[in-house]
């Protein structure tokens, strides 16, 4: 027997495995079942796409002319004219027409602030000051009543500025509250624990609509006469309390998943309760629940559409308001819906991509 070491002769590498052609070959025509699926999907697209293009582009009407739109309806074309005609009403709601630069600037500032806040380089103490400044700018511009700007009460606010502001504030306020409640539910102190459990169970037991109704119609009945809190603030508090209860349970799930040894190690190092939570437990727990938290942020963004029922006409409400009152354009509500769908989608999709980025950042410590 020959027991000297015999290396296996080198073999040529397999034919090209990178690039578009091998990718298509492997992924779309790898075996008979995927080939079949590819062919079926292509066939469906070929059958469906021309009709879609015809409806959305070739036979569609883009000018704000309701006569043309009526005609296009017969031939099966979309009426984008409704957007061209009504976009300011949809985006700004009942805000005074000639003053609509104010909500436009306010919303732009808010969106820029949100984008900045997402970037790691800007996670500095001054970001808090920037938030305060932008919020002051937002409310200053929206409310007016100074510097020659006419006062606009909150019940005339509407459309996208309202959606963005309510969603942002609810998210920013609900998140810390949810963390506090989640920690409270795990507290050793019976009073704090009971309060947190009651809060979560009570809020989870009712639909958001009823919370909004209570904030809007019932709450004022309990206030002393002559004293009133703006309905917008009441609704903001309602949404915040509602979403914080749900998020608290997500955060608690994350806390539950942290091994007991982490707390013990923090204890033996002499860290206080808050130091241990802040430095050891919460960073790990929150990293685990990023997808669930982001799910909730996205839900909050879309749930703002419910505040229409208490007469705050945010994006969806403003769209309804703009079209329902105009019999010329009412038939084209579907196209208008697609328009606001696109707006909602841009925001929600950005949030979901951002959450993926966060997850990637947080997984660095797990990469071997």
């Amino acid at each position: 027997m020959n027991d000297t070491f015999q290396p296996i002769a080198p073999r040529p590498a397999p034919v090209r495995t990178e690039g578009i052609v091998p990718w298509v070959r492997n992924n779309l025509f790898g075996n008979w079942s995927s080939t079949l699926a590819t062919v079926l999907v292509l066939a469906a697209a070929a059958w469906w796409l021309p009709g879609l293009l015809r409806w959305a582009i070739f036979d569609a009407v883009f000018s704000p002319d309701s006569q043309l739109c009526q005609a296009a309806r017969e031939t099966g074309g979309a009426c984008w004219g409704v957007v061209a005609e009504k976009y300011r009403l949809i985006i700004f709601g009942r805000y005074p027409f000639e003053d609509q630069w104010r909500p436009a600037v306010a919303t732009a500032a808010m969106v820029v602030l949100l984008v900045l806040s997402c970037v790691r380089v800007f996670w500095r103490p001054w970001l808090v000051l920037l938030w305060a400044a932008v919020l002051a700018l937002f409310f200053g511009l929206m409310l007016g009543g100074f510097a020659g700007m006419e006062h606009v009460p909150t019940d005339r606010w509407g459309g996208l500025p309202l959606t963005v502001m309510v969603a942002t504030l609810s998210i920013v306020l609900a998140f810390p509250l949810s963390v506090a409640v989640a920690l409270g539910r795990r507290s050793n102190m019976p009073a704090i624990k009971t309060i947190c459990v009651i809060y979560v169970e009570l809020i989870r037991g009712v639909p958001l609509i009823s919370v909004l109704f209570m904030a809007s119609f019932m709450f004022p009945l309990f206030m002393p006469p002559g004293m009133s809190i703006d309905v917008l603030i009441r609704v903001l508090v309602g949404i915040t309390l509602f979403s914080a209860a749900y998020m608290a349970e997500i955060v608690r799930g994350g806390l539950q998943a942290i091994p007991k040894g982490q707390q013990e190690a923090a204890d033996t190092l002499g860290l206080s309760y808050w130091q241990a939570q802040r430095k050891i437990i919460l960073p790990q727990a929150l990293a685990l629940v990023v997808p669930g938290i982001m799910n909730n942020f996205i839900a909050i963004f879309k749930d703002t559409s419910l505040i229409t029922i208490v007469s705050l006409y945010e994006l969806t409400g403003a769209m309804g308001l703009a079209l329902d009152s105009d019999s010329d354009w009412r038939p084209f509500k579907l196209t208008a819906y697609l328009f606001i769908t696109a707006i909602y989608f841009i925001f929600c999709f950005s949030m979901s991509r951002y959450s993926l980025w966060i997850e990637k950042q947080l997984s660095r410590s797990k990469n071997r």
Partner: protein
Amino acid sequence: MTAPIISFDKVNKWYGNNFHVLRDIDLNVAPGERIVICGPSGSGKSTLIRCINRLEEHQQGHLIVDGVELSDDVKAIEAIRKQVGMVFQQFNLFPHLTVLENLTLAPMWVGKMPKKDAEERAMKQLERVRIAEQAGKYPLQLSGGQQQRVAIARALCLTPKIMLFDEPTSALDPEMIKEVLDVMIELAEGGITMLCVTHEMGFAKAVANRVIFMDLGQIVEENEPHEFFNNPKSDRTKDFLSKILGH
């Protein structure tokens, strides 16, 4: 004999209502003494050392550590924890922090040390456990033996008077046990007070002043290592030793 740094006086503890895990423990540890505690699982040896830094509460008796009696007083517990370092079976490193951050955390937040000084001290401890080159890595990128050495360095960063080891090598591959034991032997030579729950009898013979055998929540036998291994008195100890030294 100098005043003990740790003193158990008739300490009792129960888990729930009827599991009596520590029974009338009397134990004095002199400063600089190195004690190895062994015994079958469930004998209360981990619970015993976890009482010293109040990871577990005792319910009866007195436990005085470094002149402070352990009670519900949070300040007393914090004072004691600054003097007592602990190393766990499962390392319990903070996986989201780098090795260096694991070490500087307590000096910076508990000891209020400036970052630079804390890092300097951390690097010194990492060199001591021969792992300085891994300072920038995350714990999960290290082997078990390396992680346990980091855990020892982390505990040393608060310059404790007492070190507690709770089965520090039980979760390690055989090849890695030695590198951890070597670090612990060096530490013992430095004169720190050590209490170590372990079944590494070679380690006990090499460094311990005293070996304690526990069973059913009681201290069954204690003696200096030579006597303990060669001339055990109780049958229970003989039986235990024959099992763990038999193979």
